[in-house]
């Protein structure tokens, strides 16, 4: 009896999402080992064809974010698909991406002088159908600008990642999710010396139509491993605004 009730509820939830104009994610990429995190999203699918926002304060955080994004990019960039990385002050070192299953020569780097060109170039790139993903590094993005990017990806179904280093104000915007990645102690295991696989604390601050949460992840042997399950975040003032 309860099983049927659950089914009915989930069915109703899906209908509600459709009524709210939320399009189901098509041709979702398979992120091995990321299932517990994906559960936070509607329909338990990582939304491709949407714009994600990543916050970082220090360079160490930015590096961890880069690693996490590289892990997300790897399945998107299958079959020789191209990713475009747009930035005004890039420090990313392409060979490091190879360790996360990304072929660095499939990434086209666009290095611009001014930050407002980044926004223009990102919108232009997001309109280009068939790209695996577009990554843009920018400090701040206004609601209008994020809405423009959202409209672009709704047409083209390209996934966008915005890396915001030291954002000045955390305004509401049209991105589908807001993430924060912080580095954690690695565990080499078996009492081995040295540094183990990279570990991060993944915080999902905002999700549209989903549940924010926090996980501890490790990237090992070409896949994500969830170390600790979701610690549901206390609803905060800025989280309540989503939706």
């Amino acid at each position: 009896m309860s099983a049927t009730k659950k089914e009915i509820i989930s069915q109703l939830q899906k209908e509600l999402l459709l009524l709210q104009g939320f399009k189901p994610t098509l041709n979702a990429a398979v992120h091995a080992g990321l299932e517990p995190v994906e559960a936070a999203f509607p329909n338990a699918v990582f939304p491709t064809g949407a714009v994600h926002e990543f916050l970082s304060e220090a360079a160490e955080q930015a590096a961890a974010t880069g690693g996490f994004i590289a892990g997300l990019l790897a399945p998107l960039m299958q079959q020789g698909r191209v990713c475009i990385w747009i930035s005004a002050a890039r420090t990313l070192f392409p060979p490091a991406l190879a360790a996360f299953g990304v072929t660095p020569d499939q990434i086209i780097f666009v290095d611009l002088q001014r930050e407002r060109d980044v926004l223009w170039a990102m919108e232009e790139a997001l309109k280009c159908e068939g790209l695996a993903a577009v990554v843009g590094e920018m400090r701040d993005i206004s609601f209008t600008a994020s809405r423009r990017l959202q409209l672009a990806v709704e047409q083209s179904r390209v996934t966008g990642f915005i890396l915001r280093h030291q954002p000045r104000d955390l305004n509401a915007n049209a991105c589908v999710a807001r993430w924060r990645v912080t580095p954690l102690h690695s565990e080499p295991g078996n009492n081995m010396p040295g540094i183990g696989f990279p570990r991060w604390r993944i915080t999902l601050l905002k999700v549209r139509n989903g549940k924010p949460g926090e996980w501890q992840l490790e990237w090992a042997q070409g896949r994500f491993n969830v170390i600790t399950e979701n610690i549901a975040l206390q609803p905060q003032a800025d989280i309540r605004k989503t939706g």
């Binding site: 690693g67 079959q79 698909r81 420090t91 392409p94 666009v110 695996a132 540094i195």
Partner: protein
């Protein structure tokens, strides 16, 4: 179709130009002079000065004696050539093949152009009136050969249009100087009493050659059309070029867009027939006031897609300033390449590096930000981190070596390694703590060292011993010590990157 050439003779090129710049000089006797063998020689004299008996080649002192109120300007060498080049560029609105003819003329190849102005009479009239409006006194002639047109422009009395095949009759009454001969040859003809072309043109060729040399025969043949003469056009003719003259001057952006659209369609259909595509294209807009505005685009891959090319130009249209209006548009494709027909097939699935949509996107980005800002990186067989990758602008270049994952490399690499304060056990243990940007980091875990040599055949200097370290909060860094540990020297530690 016979060739038709227009010769334009500027009778007072430099003085007219000076009067245009200084209108108060009109009707004033003035001259231009340049130093020659320690005295000032007159190189150009105004009409008013000539009327008072001053001629080119006179010594300035003599001229001053005749006309005390003479105004003298310094003549810059190369001024006439500079002026003619600018006028020649302006004349491209009448024909694509225009050349300068030093010291005071222009030659236009008008074959197949005059009918666009309604015949040769209105064509010449238009040239004369437009140049006159600028302030230049010109004489113009059109004929089958350059030689005849040149002669008629300078020495003709009757008509300025020589019908096809009538060069010989037109030349008969002219003086021998009309044949563009050397001064000593002219002097010899003068001595012999040959004052007209007609008096020697029908002499036996062997006799003429014996007495006057081959030069006279060559000039005669050129004028009569027996020998082909080519001109060196100021702007080289490109095989892929489209022209669009406008009835009314174009002033608006919409007008420019329509013109561009038409030119692109014409050019692209021509390119398509030859299965070629353009890599660069230049749109030139000839303004009414004689200036030329131009914008240029480049593509990553040869393309004959009019819609894509139009998009690239679209961003640049605001840069064209129409001023009083644009009367001629020229679209040129200076760089054309073969297009393989496979390119046209749609790329199924995603967008690979070879796909057309990607090439079009990079063209759009490059059009706004410059091509140098777009690059990919390929691995190179070097361990030294700064040399381990090489940028490439090509989308098709394949990596020569595989990407290596056997050594850890940081996600972020600093442009320049930054020095850090370190306490490390000697001689080559990883550090225990380090200070970076005023913050103390206690190192909990470390890997290394990984020694990387500087590659002495490329660069001199100490090697680096790299350590991957993790601090008390789990943040991971890439540190190195430059060179060997040495008791007597302070050791230099640097931070070079951040691991994911």
């Amino acid at each position: 179709m016979p060739k038709r050439f227009v010769a334009i003779w500027f009778r007072h090129l430099i003085t007219d130009w000076l009067i245009i710049r200084k209108p108060e000089l009109l009707h004033q006797p003035f001259i231009l002079a340049a130093p020659d063998h320690g005295r000032m020689m007159i190189t150009a004299a105004s009409a008013a000065a000539q009327a008072q008996g001053i001629f080119v080649g006179m010594v300035l002192a003599d001229a001053r004696a005749i006309v005390p109120a003479l105004q003298v300007f310094n003549d810059k060498p190369g001024l006439a050539e500079q002026l003619l080049k600018a006028l020649c560029k302006w004349c491209i609105r009448y024909t694509p093949v225009a050349a300068t003819d030093l010291p005071d003329g222009l030659i236009l190849d008008a074959s197949g152009c005059a009918h666009l102005w309604g015949g040769e009479q209105p064509y010449l009239q238009e040239i004369i009136t437009r140049l006159k409006a600028f302030g230049y006194h010109v004489r113009v002639a059109i004929a089958d050969t350059i030689g005849t047109a040149w002669a008629i422009a300078r020495y003709g009395r009757v008509t300025c249009i020589i019908k096809s095949g009538e060069q010989a009759t037109a030349l008969l009454p002219l003086p021998p100087a009309a044949l563009r001969l050397e001064p000593d040859l002219l002097e010899r003809l003068q001595k012999l009493g040959l004052y007209q072309v007609g008096s020697f043109i029908n002499m036996p060729r062997s006799a003429l050659r014996r007495r006057f040399g081959q030069a006279l025969l060559d000039r005669m043949d050129q004028a009569l059309g027996r020998e082909e003469e080519v001109i060196d056009p100021l702007l080289p003719i490109l095989p892929y070029q489209e022209r669009l003259p406008c009835l009314e001057p174009i002033l608006t952006a919409t007008g420019i867009e329509i013109a561009l659209q038409r030119l692109l369609e014409a050019l692209c259909s021509r390119l398509q027939q030859k299965s070629k595509g353009l890599r660069t294209a230049v749109l030139k807009a000839y303004r009414v006031d004689g200036k030329i505005e131009q914008v240029e685009i480049g593509t990553n891959r040869a393309s004959h897609n009019a819609r894509h090319l139009f998009k690239l130009f679209e961003n640049k249209i605001p840069a064209i300033e129409p001023a009083l209006g644009i009367e001629l548009f020229i679209l040129e494709a200076p760089h054309v390449e073969e297009v393989s027909p496979q390119q046209e097939t749609l790329w199924t699935g995603g967008c690979g590096l070879e796909s057309i949509t990607l090439a079009q996107l990079t063209d759009r980005l490059a059009g706004k930000t410059g091509a140098y800002s777009i690059r990919r990186y390929l691995p190179v067989q070097h361990y030294w981190p700064e040399r381990s990758i090489t940028p490439t602008a090509s989308m098709l270049e394949k990596p020569a070596t595989p990407w290596r994952t056997d050594h850890p490399r940081p996600m972020l690499l600093l442009r320049e390694p930054e020095p850090v304060e370190v306490s490390a056990p000697i001689p080559d243990y990883p550090p225990m703590l380090f200070t970076y940007k005023g913050k103390l980091h206690y190192i909990k875990k470390a890997d290394g060292p990984e020694r990387i040599e500087r590659e002495w055949w490329l660069e001199e200097g100490p090697h680096r011993d790299y350590y991957a370290v993790e601090d008390q909060e789990g943040r991971r860094y890439w540190l190195f010590r430059s060179g060997h540990y040495d008791m007597n020297k302070p050791h230099c530690w640097y931070i070079h990157g951040f691991f994911a």
